[in-house]
């Protein structure tokens, strides 16, 4: 599988909304207030208003369901969604929950972002499949997003 760097995306997440046990698992919503992204072909900021609607399944896997809006440095708006999975050894997940820094190679945090834009200079985003690797930091996650070639 060949790929190349699309961007690194860092989002800022305030305290999450803990909804508790719902029919499919434990629902926690993480609002996104800001952030930045940068890659060889695009860079800019994350607009406020997005969030990650996470669901902890009974099998211990955290499902991620992210929606946010990116604004490029030349003023284009890009809608991004991403569905992913996070899981790992119990002690690693417990350390993450306590807000500690954990080597991201110690847990699995992968997602498949998709993009929509009307800006011609970024229309290539409408036509690619991408995969992200996540690194959960106390202030919010950092995603390294690669385009699948």
């Amino acid at each position: 599988m060949t790929s190349r760097l699309l961007m690194r995306l860092q989002v800022v997440v305030p305290p999450p909304q803990r909804l508790g046990a719902v029919p499919h698992g434990t629902r926690v919503i993480a609002p996104i207030t800001s952030g930045t992204f940068e890659g060889p072909r695009l860079r800019g900021k994350v607009l406020a208003g997005g969030a990650d609607w996470t669901l902890l399944r009974p099998d211990g896997v955290l499902e991620l369901d992210l929606r946010l809006t990116l604004e490029s440095d030349d003023g284009a708006l890009i809608y991004m969604t991403s569905f992913g999975l996070r899981h790992g050894p119990p002690e690693v997940l417990a350390a993450l929950a306590r807000g500690e820094s954990v080597d991201p190679s110690r847990y699995y945090f992968r997602a498949a972002p998709r993009f929509e834009t009307s800006a011609p200079q970024y229309a290539f985003l409408n036509r690619l499949i991408a995969i992200s690797s996540g690194d959960r930091r106390a202030s919010g996650p950092i995603y390294t997003i690669e385009e699948i070639l």
Partner: protein, 149 residues
């Protein structure tokens, strides 16, 4: 991006159901009649009854939306879905449309498969993010699926 082969899925399809122009594009439904899959950790057959709900967007990109059921050689049932994109040079896409064999390197056909399994032996499928490289054949499609590590 580190990955390893998960399996190759060969899907046999019945004649296309061409619904024509709908609000989001041109809808074509591909009924799945069978097939087979094989990889280092699982193998078996594709059950009839699934399909791929294709949508040709106004920008020329074909969106794929597949749902099928796999049955392993030890009789476990696995629910598989994917969303994907296919696009390429007009002559390659036209040749595919005429049912000709086209080198899959000449067009972009990538998917993000997801799985659901209830048996412990195949529960790893519930916990991985995967990417498929597709090939359209006159009698169906072949998908080489890698697990993202």
């Amino acid at each position: 991006m580190n990955s390893r082969p998960l399996m190759t899925v060969r899907i046999a399809a019945a004649p296309l159901q061409r619904l024509g122009a709908v609000p989001h594009g041109i809808r074509t439904i591909v009924p799945v009649t069978g097939g087979e899959f094989e990889g280092p950790r699982l193998r078996g057959k594709v059950l009839p009854g699934g399909g791929d709900w294709l949508l040709l967007r106004s920008d020329g990109v074909l969106e794929l939306d597949l749902r099928i059921t796999l049955e392993t050689d030890d009789h476990a049932l696995i629910h598989m879905t994917f969303q994907g994109l296919r696009h390429g040079p007009p002559d390659a896409i036209a040749a595919l449309g005429r049912g000709e064999i086209v080198d899959p390197a000449s067009y972009y056909f990538r998917t993000v498969p997801r799985f659901e399994a209830s048996t412990e032996k195949y529960a790893f499928l519930n916990r991985i993010v995967t990417v498929g490289v597709g090939e359209t054949r006159p009698d169906g499609a072949v998908h080489r699926i890698d697990e993202i590590l």
